[in-house]
């Protein structure tokens, strides 16, 4: 490619800049508008600058919705989804390195889950739990059936629905990591007498650590924003994005922007923590991982 730039470089740079503006422009707009003065409306101009709408959100929430409960529910679910996504993907990733019967079938099932229209997954899980409810009400012994309402809920059906969306990302990242993983490090550890567990704990995990943090990032953020798959499978109590989706047309004050700014801030905080951790782990690797070149300096 040499030193000189092709003409395409300049207009592609311009396109990229426009694309970034397109990505972030709207987001910046609502963040700015959420600091709208008390008299301000949903659009520009800004009518003063204030924390009025944040205060209103904090004190009153949204009309007809207990927004803070759904906020807490979403956060709890996000953490559980994140942990399960990391642990299950990691275990399955290790399994794929050794190979097992049915590994291909599982791989294609996971891919299928990733590209399956979410509404179909949601409908299916909704149906599954309804049929389970019916069966329990009709056939289960009295002590179980009495007072039984539904098995659907945040940590049953909604958790499952979220996992069908986060786990494919987790597993694909794991497979990509291990495709590039140099197995000789592990072999060396084993040759030096490390047990399987020790080799995993002291050699494999530190090397793949940054990517595992990445999986966690996907797990939490995808769950925190998930609507399509949980819409029919969440039970009585909605998560935050589901409530938000219902409020888009009914709320006509900047309080919805304040909530938008807040959830975006949570996402950004999580992203920052994850990226920071990844950077930290990388530094640590660079510092401790290799003594190449040290003899020279």
């Amino acid at each position: 490619m040499g030193g000189r730039r092709f003409a395409s470089f300049y207009w592609l740079s311009a396109l990229f800049a426009l694309f970034v503006l397109f990505l972030y422009g709207p987001m910046v707009t609502i963040v700015v508008l959420s600091f709208q003065g008390p008299e301000g409306g949903l659009t520009f101009p800004m009518n003063g600058v204030s924390f009025h709408w944040f205060a209103k959100l904090w004190n009153d929430g949204l009309p007809n919705v207990d927004i803070w409960s759904s906020f807490a529910r979403s956060a709890r679910l996000g953490v559980v989804v994140m942990l399960l996504t990391v642990v299950l993907s990691l275990m399955a990733g290790l399994a794929y390195r050794r190979g097992f019967t049915g590994s291909n079938a599982l791989f294609y099932t996971v891919i299928a889950s990733l590209i399956m229209p979410s509404i179909v997954v949601s409908l299916g899980i909704g149906l599954e739990f309804r049929m389970l409810d019916e069966a329990i009400k009709k056939h289960a012994p009295a002590f179980l059936a009495d007072g039984y309402d539904t098995g659907m809920g945040l940590f049953t059906s909604a958790l499952g629905a979220h996992l069908t969306w986060t786990l494919p990302f987790g597993l694909l990242i794991m497979l990509a990591i291990f495709n590039r993983f140099d197995a000789r490090y592990e072999e060396a550890a084993r040759d030096l007498g490390a047990s399987r567990w020790q080799a995993l704990r002291h050699v494999v995990l530190p090397i793949i650590g940054p990517s595992v943090v990445g999986i966690g990032l996907f797990g939490f953020t995808l769950s925190w924003d998930e609507i399509a798959r949980s819409s029919q499978a969440v039970g009585y109590l909605n998560t935050l994005p589901l409530e938000l989706q219902g409020q888009t047309t009914t709320v006509t004050t900047p309080v919805i922007y304040a909530l938008g700014t807040l959830t975006t801030a949570v996402s950004f905080a999580v992203i920052a923590v994850a990226l920071g951790t990844i950077l930290l782990l990388r530094r640590r690797q660079a510092r401790r991982g290799s003594d190449v070149g040290k003899a020279m300096s």
Partner: protein, 300 residues
Amino acid sequence: MISKVIAEKGLPAWAQAAPLALVFALFFLVPLLLTVVVSFWNYTEYEILPDLTARNYIEAFEGCARRLLAASPELCTTLKTYLTTLRISLTVWLITLVLGFAIAYFLAFHVRSLTVQIVLFLICTIPFWTSNVIRMISWIPLLGRNGLINQALIKMHAVNEPVEWLLFSDFAVILAFVHLYTLFMIVPICNSMMRIDRSLLEAAYDAGATGWQTLTNVVIPLSKPGIVIGSIFVLTIVMGDFVTVGVMGGQQIASVGKMINTQMGALQFPPAAAHAVILLATVLTIVWGLTRLVDIRKEL
């Protein structure tokens, strides 16, 4: 004895994969199977009846043939909905493909430092980790009747009345899809491009190929796997969507996903399941057609 074997050899591989497999069995395979089964069941206002009937499929397209073959042919609601969905999907696919390809090309070939590459890549990815609904809502102050764009247009005397079709319209839906999902094109295409041996490009250049010829004869063929994977992502997401179409279409535009969602809201599960099966068949046909072009497993 067993614990000793496990301590020495670790869990057997299948047992390590079992929890993940179990999740997909319980929350993906069984639900899918139930959807197909229920699509052949009967129903009343109050309950679904285990039965074997083609009623849901027949009713889905009831009157379609008659109206299509009538003296003044017209489309029935179902066909119209499917066609709208297909039209939106294809438009979004085309735009995200061209845009995603250009961005991926820039990242893969024009950015020379790895650090800058990673930073720019992150800039593209970060919005993906934030809320989709918020990203949709954030278009309202820009596109609305009194939004920034209309304010600007009126100030410039380009229009006298605010433009109405900017928000709650096909345009808004397509814009939001492009906004949300171009990343799904960028990542796989960029991944393919990063693997292209740079000396191939130099060889093409040395052999006298123009930039355009290098693009069409070298870069595009070698980026095909990424293009296919990105296309699968975008098409399947848009085909089954009901959230974006709902929010950005002002709940006025019908898509297949939205139709299914509405039927479920009315507790009409068997017809919803039938539409889900039809949607699934459509999507699988598209995916099958696209995967004939590439082996996904090799691309990780």
